[in-house]
Symmetry: C2
Subunit: 332 residues, 2 copies
Amino acid sequence: MVNSRDVARAAGVSQATVSRVMTPGTPVSDATRARVLQAMAAVGYQPNLAAQTMKTGRTGTVGVVVADLTNPFYPQILDALSDAFDEAGYRMTVWVADSAKNDAALLAIRQGSVDGVVFTTVTETSSELHGALERQSPLVLVNRTLAGVDCDQVGSDNVAGGALVADYLVRHGRTRPAFIGGTPLATTSQGRLHGFATRLAELGHPLSPDRIFQGEYTHRNGYAAMARALDGSDAVDSVFCSNDLLAFGAIDAARSAGTAVPDDIWIIGYDDTDMASWESFDLTTVRQDIAGMAGAATRMLLARIQDPAAPAEQVVLESRLVIRGSTAHQPA
Amino acid sequence: MVNSRDVARAAGVSQATVSRVMTPGTPVSDATRARVLQAMAAVGYQPNLAAQTMKTGRTGTVGVVVADLTNPFYPQILDALSDAFDEAGYRMTVWVADSAKNDAALLAIRQGSVDGVVFTTVTETSSELHGALERQSPLVLVNRTLAGVDCDQVGSDNVAGGALVADYLVRHGRTRPAFIGGTPLATTSQGRLHGFATRLAELGHPLSPDRIFQGEYTHRNGYAAMARALDGSDAVDSVFCSNDLLAFGAIDAARSAGTAVPDDIWIIGYDDTDMASWESFDLTTVRQDIAGMAGAATRMLLARIQDPAAPAEQVVLESRLVIRGSTAHQPA
DNA sequence: CTGAAAGCGCTTACAG
DNA sequence: CTGAAAGCGCTTACAG
């Protein structure tokens, strides 16, 4: 591998001058700069990142932890994060799924292989996480957030989102809804259920416990839960799924059972992933501003890397209901 | 940040000894090792990766370039690659989409920020790629491959896959098929079309040019192409889409147009992504062994990193047709 | 504006 | 088995 010393030799300058040419804001004469740049091109020089990192303490790489990529929400947020970090000139190391990866990402900060980490999928307050925060490791929680934890967080108002759905259903006379949720460990699913159930109760149509189904955020579970909901003795007239993936499964189950959507049953999802608007699903869903979440997370992480001691920021994005064909009514 | 010198001080040994404790196969007495390990734990030591990289020339990180994550094929292969590299103890830097990212990944090898790169989405023979190969940069092409390029490649036999579909359709009397393909730049789509058209001609039912539709690999394009195919004056009785995502769009278009699948038209995809088996699509498709591709690519890249000068290996995986409800017949 | 030199935190011959 | 020392390839005060 050719290094800055080789370039220096070729250009007839010192190694330090080569380094200065690469560092914006350092004084180098135009003539010298030109000679060095030409030498760099001639020998095919690329600065060694490990050496730069060792001197500067910055890697130019951030970490991102995503959950299960079979949930289209994660590819979409990963895509948006990729664009944003790319724009900022950062590389992105990705850890996919399973909770052990959260700790791997935190370890990476300590080992100096990333400058900071975005978590899209925190499920609980681990001691590792607390340790990282005490060490002022730059990290941002996006999507799944943790109440009472003092760190940068970007989420949407899941409670309000759940309430939105309750309002909409009751307003249109759908007073016997079921709830199909993700794992209770997911703070997103918790919030959506809470907002939904609370508002239903306020409106005089409390959600009965046997109409609450919870499991992993998978198509299969959405399908299975819907099959059970349709099987129940008392007729369910609508289903609120705590994400789109579950709703796709629910729609498929309804289709298999010969239950018409929306004639016999209304189905509502959460996220507004690209697929929600596909004709196969045409899903009414609570829209999350995925690109907005990614943009805010990126901005916050980069700011945090600049100033690890700054006060933590919490961003809550608004969500809104997008009405499509899996329910029959336009909003009032 | 605590370094190995701090640990040495705490353990009452030299810094070199601390380093030896971390390096398997180096002689350290049990007593010393124990003292050092205890000191490491006490001070919360983590070795600095940039320093290790500078000495060893290895980063322990590989790069992966994926295209558009809205195509479920890519999340699936990314997932599989993530598992495989994780198992091997490597971190994974991901570049998402657009062809400029291929060059960014090649640059990363030269800068020493990754030890090697897996490309899932090469579209053409760029000079950058050739330069990288001359430099013996460790890289593997998976999924999209390049004939005549001397480097490690893992693909499936797209020509045979296309022929498989032609055989199947003609055997069941579907002799007026259309082809909906991805961008002609994608070697995958090229091969599938080639195999399909060639076999159709051999069977006496040549594919007419006005029944060939090509565009980006998106749901929208699958939809639009199907709409045009259904609109054509001469009746198309079947459609072969060069990936599942296009086929999902095609199914949605048929659904919107009131064209029954498979009664009026048969639809076949390629990939066998998870979604292909969802009830909404129930898609007959050519199955690619995605996990097998990822496993082979990982194995080959790690071997290449060990020995950059070894002869290149080309792996071609078999594909097979998975019959589902978007076509009516079980295989003969 | 430019060079000589120190040092980031490791690994690894070289002695002992 | 262990220590002292060199060096990986940069950045950045310190002189001039």
